[in-house]
Every structure is written in C-alpha cells, then in structure tokens.
Symmetry: C2
Subunit: 382 residues, 2 copies
C-alpha cells in the first residue's frame, strides 16, 4: 500500500506521527512550503533538502496553465520535472479557480473559467481536475472542491457544501478508475497516489460537522479542512477547526489548508492538525518580513543598516550563520535578488525548526509546556 | 608584502601564475565575476565558493551610493560586509560615473555627477575615489581614470589620456599616504591593499603605448587595460590589447577590464592577459542566454519545453547535474526567481571551468592546441 499513517505519540489532541508515500516518508506534524509553479520562489531544491523540507505543495491550477499537465506527465511527473525526489502534494486547483481566474461560471458539472495569464477559456470538473492531478503525479492529491467564499449566508454555504460533497464522490470515483495512470506507477512498483477529501461548511459548526461526517463516509486516506483562512477573524478559524476535527477519524492525517503564522501552526497542532501549508513564510520573506525567536523583524528598517548581528541569534540556519542584518538590509533596500533568496531560506528554516521542536515536544511529553510559551500575536501580511 | 605575483608557466605570451592578497591567493589567468552591490545577482556566497570563484569584483560607484562607504568601513570592509573571505577587487567608480550618472561635469580636479538613483549631487576626485576604495577595503583597488568614450578624435583621446595619467599619479600619492586606513589593516598584520594603474589611449596604438609607458613609470603592482569593450569592433579590441600589453612589464599582472565571451577570454589569455571581469555571464544568464560546450542556448526557446537533458552534457555544475532544460525553460518562461539563480550558476561554472582548463593547458604545454579549438563567434547580448 502506498499511503499509510502511523501515530507515534499523543499529547492531548496533538499527535506526532509519520506517513508513507511513494516518494518516501514524512514525519508529522509537518509544514509544507508552497512551490506554486514547481519551485519555492528563489530557493533551489538542494537548499530545500538541506533545510529538512520533507514535502512540498504544488498548485495544479498554475501547472495546468504552465507548463501544462501533458508536459509534466511526459517528463515523469512533478517530482522528476522539478528534480525533487521527496513527496509532493497538489491541491485540486479549485481554490485558485475561485480566487485567481476571471469570469468563472459554476455549474453542477464543474467550473468554466478564464486563465489569469492570457484570458483563455478552460473548464475544471471533478473528473478533469483529478485527471490533471494524476498526470502531474504528486504523492498526495486533493479532491476537487468549492471553497465557499466568506462571508456567506447559511443557505448558500449549505448548497456549496453539498456541491463539494458531490464533487468529492466524483473525485474519488474518477481517481479509483484511473489511479494507475500516474506517470511513475510502474516504476514505483504499482504504488498509487493518495487522494484526500476536503471538508467545507463555511463558518457554521453544524455544516462543518455534516461536511466532515459525510466526507468521511466517502472514505479517504486523509482529510483536509478547507475554506478557512479566507478572511474570517482568527478566533473563528480556531472554532471551525475544532468543530471539524472532532468528526474526523483519529487514525487518518488531518490537513489544515492555507495556514498560518509560526505561532498559529503550533496551536493548530494542539488542536489535532497533522499537516499545514501556507505562502506566509515565503511571501513574507520576499517582502522583507522575517520570523525570529524574538518576534517579527522588518529587514528594510534603517536601524539595521549597521547591525552586525544575524537575523536571529538563536537560529541555526545558514543565513544566520553567515550574513549580518546590515548586509541583508542592504540587499533588500537595493532590490537585489539575493535578498529574496536569503530571506526565504531563513523563514523556511524557522518554520521547519518550529515543527521539529513541536514534534520533539510531543514525543517527549513536553508539549503543554512548549505550547504555553507560544503566544498569538496578530499579523497583517503585505 | 601584501601583494605578490608569481609566474609558474608560460606558453607564448600566455602565462599561468598566482598572486597573493591579504585575503588569500588567486590562480591566474582568472575571470572575476561582477558583484556590483556586493552580491553576484541571485547567487549566494557559499555557491560562489562551491563554484571555485577565487575573486569577485565590486563596484565602488554603487557601494558609495548604497549602503555608503562609511557603513561598509564600520562593518569591517566589503569582505566582512558581504561575508566573503576571499579576495575582492573594486573598480574606481570612474567608469560608472561616465556611463550611469547624470549631468556629470569633468574638471581637472575630478568629476561632479548626479546619482542615477535619486539625482543627488556628488563629486569624485582621484583622492576621494581612492579614499572610498580604501574605506571599502577590497584587496585590489583601481586608480581613478577617465574612460575615454568611443568613438573619440585623436586630440580628445590624448587629452583624456593625459588626464588619466595625472589622476593616476594623484591616486597613487593619496593611496601611499592613507593605505593603512583600510578597515582590516591591523587585523591582517599590517598588510595593505594593492593599487593597480589603468592604461587608456582609446583606439590609437601610439597613445596606448604612451599611456602604458607613462603609467608604468608611476609604478604599480599591476596594470589594467581600460577603455576597451566600449562599442568598438572586436578586431580593434584585440589590436589595442596587443598595442598595450607589449609595453607592460612581464612580472606584473595584466588586467583587461570588461571582457568578454568565453571564447574571447581564452584569446586574451593568449595575448598575455592574466585577469578579466565582465557582466556577460551573469547578465546573459538573467536573460536566459546560456553558454555551453556546444555553443549558446536560449533557454526560453519552445524546443526545450519537453527536453529532459541538461543545459550542457559536458558540464559538471550542480545545475547540469540536477535540472532538465524543460524545467529551466519552464522557470524562465514563468519568470521565476530560481531561473535567474540557476542560469547564473551554470554560466559562472562555464567561465570558471574555461579558465581552469586554460590554466591547465598552459601548465601542461597544451595551450596552442587548446586555443586552436576556440573559435570566435560574435554575440550580441541583450
């Protein structure tokens, strides 16, 4: 069997575990950096390996438009394409269709949309989205869903949730009928991808519960909590995570999509989340916002102009080992490419290290103490 | 003594040697990548080390404007500032003042100019330019010169050459009086920077000869050939190199500024050149133009869209070892940061490897054979 999840330790709702994919094992809880177009912007694959990144997220919508699914499939799938031999997860493209594309039209069959790049017309159905994800060949792929907009009325949210449930069924049916078409199927000894379901239900606890229960009935090897971090206040995010996660099976990984700050991800682990992804560490880095053990730091600030110290004296990353704040400030102020690369490496190191320490704390029984030291400042990202 | 040059082998006019600086030794002939703002655009210092880059060029004009000489001086000089513990060479800023700045006004005292960044007013004299170079603290610094424009009449070229000769004298006088002010002077056991002279003389062989002879009379530990690669046809460049180099001392390094293609640099070595710098490998890379053992390659070309091969099958660089042309084409076409980084790494590897093979050929007596295999295609750079 390709995908298997194993829990090694629990501490309250938090779990430390691991899952196994055709491209190797991933220790959880895990944060997945976003590599939209099969690249984590500005960071080379060998550096991601050095950082200890275990699994990347790629975006189906973007890769479908460029370079195209057929190109990636012919080249052996996203892992071979981007020369990354560790696990990859693709989203279904649903979120991007709703957030990036123009003139979208949703019917029960799927979504007609225009490319944000050139206005060309396209159509994603549950079947065609899963076909794209099979062609791309990531280890974990996501069911095609409708990410309900926020705010949304109860009735609209319920209808959207029903649509997502129907699409989940169709996603699974298509996947089961075609899962051996993954580019590396033969070479990986007949292993298959893992298709995860996505729970929706907007900001209504009862709809979250219903969506969770009925998604679980369809039966997936892992479950995502979608439709959060879409503009709602943070306490509501926590409430919805809580309202969802209690109805997800203990023995399957839970993936909270699109979160969060370094502090938030620790708290989501406490709620029982195993996997997360977010553009925050990489996008913030490109805007000069750096995460440190002492809080946020805006590297363009003039007070760093002659600062010989590293970004974070407690950080072991290769940027902090070598470069001063003064140099990084100069690179950023001069709009140099290297600023984006070095800032991103640091922020990813901070996230990877945070998850490593969280996992260690769960394994050693120190998680409550660890958690009590993590406060939740609020942050607006550029 | 801080700077020493030692020739190990000769083959015709070509030489293999090494020079010694306060930050270590450099094997010649050497190509110096350009790191204008104390960064080789898109490439981290550890990667430059891995590539075997021995010495970088930094631009005084740019660093004077950002982050400012005083900031770099306080931080210990450019090596500490950019966390690069190998040798660095700075130009004098003269070339940039003439090519980048607005509203410049040249008098016998120096050049008044406006910053290309914000229009602010500045003045460089031989004394202030050398003071800036001492404050930046590169291992090799260049005399302040006037790069004669091309084309220029004989009389104008002669006057410009005379100006450069007077400024060379003043550069040296100022340097001798202040050379212990280098930021790392004490910590490097009283070693000093090395100030090189620059030969001008435009496209007139007799002026080149006169400039060379009189620059040599001033006496520098190394000599640059300036004012070439400024728009003249390539055969004229070769003619001027030849007209200059025969009047430069055998026992001092010769630095040809601002050249060239991979083929050209081999031919300049054949003419007796020891050091070169050029933005070509790095700038061309950022425009998707790659150098290979089989010729140039424009990575955005659609024919690479599904090409699984490396940029250059004969190349040992880490980009060629890992990534396909299809992936690099995708990154470039998608305007991804990583395209610029990976392309630059490859082109620098190609230059470094070319110089390594040239040096080996000179040491082993095979240089004539090596040279006969290097043709000179002409190239227009974006």
């Amino acid at each position: 069997m390709s995908f298997r999840f194993q829990i090694e330790a629990r501490d309250g709702a938090a779990r430390a575990g691991r899952f196994f994919t055709p491209h190797g094992e991933v220790q959880t809880p895990v944060f997945m950096p976003v590599g939209t177009l099969a690249t984590v912007k500005g960071v080379s694959q060998d550096t991601l390996e050095e950082l200890g990144v275990q699994i990347l997220l790629n975006n189906t919508y973007h890769l479908y438009l460029r370079p195209g699914v057929e190109t990636v499939r012919q080249l052996g799938g996203v892992q071979k394409f981007m020369a990354w031999d560790r696990p990859i997860l693709t989203d279904s493209g649903g979120f991007q269709v709703f957030s990036l594309s123009d003139l979208r039209k949703v019917t029960k069959d799927g979504v007609a949309f225009r490319s944000h790049l050139d206005g060309s017309s396209h159509f994603f159905s549950p079947e065609s989205a899963i076909a794209a994800e099979i062609g791309l060949g990531a280890d974990i792929i996501m069911a095609f869903d409708e990410c309900t907009e926020h705010p949304a009325e109860y009735k609209r949210t319920q209808e959207s949730m029903e649509m997502t449930l129907r699409w989940a069924r169709r996603s699974k049916d298509y996947f089961e009928a075609h899962k051996w078409e993954t580019p590396w199927f033969a070479e990986r000894h007949g292993q298959t991808q893992a298709l995860f379901g996505i729970v929706q239900g907007g900001m209504f606890p009862d709809l979250r519960r219903e969506s969770a229960r009925r998604t679980v009935e369809i039966d997936f090897p892992g479950y995502a909590i979608g439709g959060l971090s879409v503009g709602e206040p943070r306490p509501m995010t926590y409430e919805m995570v809580d309202a969802t996660i209690r109805f997800l099976p203990e023995d399957k990984p839970r993936y909270l999509m699109g979160v969060g700050t370094p502090e938030e991800i620790v708290h989501y682990v406490a709620a029982g989340v195993d996997m997360m992804d977010c553009v925050l560490p990489t996008r913030a880095a490109r805007h000069g916002l750096l995460f440190t053990s002492e809080g946020r730091l805006t590297i363009k600030n003039a007070r760093f102009a002659a600062d010989e110290g590293p970004i974070d004296a407690a950080c072991q990353c290769k940027v902090c080992a070598r470069y001063s704040r003064a140099y990084l400030r100069h690179l950023y102020a001069s709009n140099e490419l290297l600023a984006q690369t070095l800032n991103t490496i640091h922020n990813l190191a901070y996230y990877v290290d945070t998850m490593r320490r969280v996992r260690q704390a769960i394994l050693s029984g120190d998680f409550p103490k660890f958690l009590s030291g993590v406060r939740l400042p609020h942050l607006s990202v550029p």
